[in-house]
Symmetry: C2
């Protein structure tokens, strides 16, 4: 299914996911929230919330055929019963990144930063969905949603720490790390 | 300037551009209009119109550094005084295209279809701006706007005919070719 899925993340005092922590990694943070609700399929009318962020799934931007096959063979979807932990990580990249040509961004993204390869080491334990937001005029460029079981929280922590040390991350000028849990 | 520019094309009975012809190339056409107006910067409230199409400029998706430099050295911007002819060509690509990985799309786009190379032959006579619409949930994936002087109409016709014969175009499942003129 490649049709873009429009998704709204609604932060406030209601929703299925309980917020454990809102950690500003770089740049301006977002106001604290207690709960997060995710609405899929169209940017529907919002219920009252502290903030909302919109994004859409899209086609692959850097992944090659071979990489896509490798990931597809092992990754798992969202909504697993045991995946009671989640992270929403909105990031924005700077003008220097966006003015690079496609092959330059690919080279930084994978050949030097191993973004796909690092992520692949944490499959199938961590599942993820990437939402693009930049072309929607949103304050962030990407909203990545991750789900994993509590026992894999340590592995997830290591993964995001490794990614943040890559050359690619030097182009990130705003990042917030929101951790969440839900009842099984 | 890489910040996405939100653009709305408003078709109806008013606007700077006079419509000469609305030609359905493939798939469902759009209702005939007499005039077209272009609004830039935010998807502003619409005045009454027959149809409106939204898109945003974005980062380069296939162009390499060398190609971008080559194009940048010769291409001209929109709004030239002598460019009294224009074309708005909305296209949609099929699911087969969008489910391809990045390197497969690049290979079809340039290595086999020479999309960039063909376009480059018509620079600086034809100027263009590409607007992405798929992730906005619009009926088309791309809205390309071209401007050229009347004396280059023949060259423009040849260019679009050549592109429509490429392997890339076999993935296009809807295309409309709207030709316009304005007073000098």
């Amino acid at each position: 299914m490649t049709k873009p899925l429009q998704v709204t993340f609604l932060g406030g005092d209601r929703g299925r996911w309980r917020v454990e922590k809102v950690k500003p990694v770089k740049g301006e943070t977002l106001p604290h929230i207690d709960r997060l609700e995710i609405r899929e399929g169209g940017f529907t009318p919002r219920f009252p919330c502290t903030w909302s962020l919109r994004g859409t799934t899209s086609n692959l931007r850097y992944t090659t055929e071979a990489e896509a096959k490798q990931l597809g063979d092992v990754q798992e979807g969202l909504g697993r019963r045991t995946a009671t932990c989640a992270a929403l990580i909105p990031i924005r990249k700077n003008e220097a990144w966006w003015s690079l040509a496609q092959n330059e961004r690919r080279r930084i993204f994978e050949e030097s930063s191993k973004h796909i390869a690092i992520g692949a080491e944490y499959l199938p334990e961590v599942s993820r969905r990437l939402h693009h937001a930049r072309d929607l005029g949103e304050p962030f460029d990407f909203l990545t949603w991750f789900e994993f079981a509590a026992e894999h929280s340590g592995a997830f922590e290591t993964m995001v720490a490794r990614l943040r040390e890559t050359p690619e991350w030097s182009y990130v000028d705003r990042e917030i790390d929101i951790r969440l849990t839900r009842s099984p």
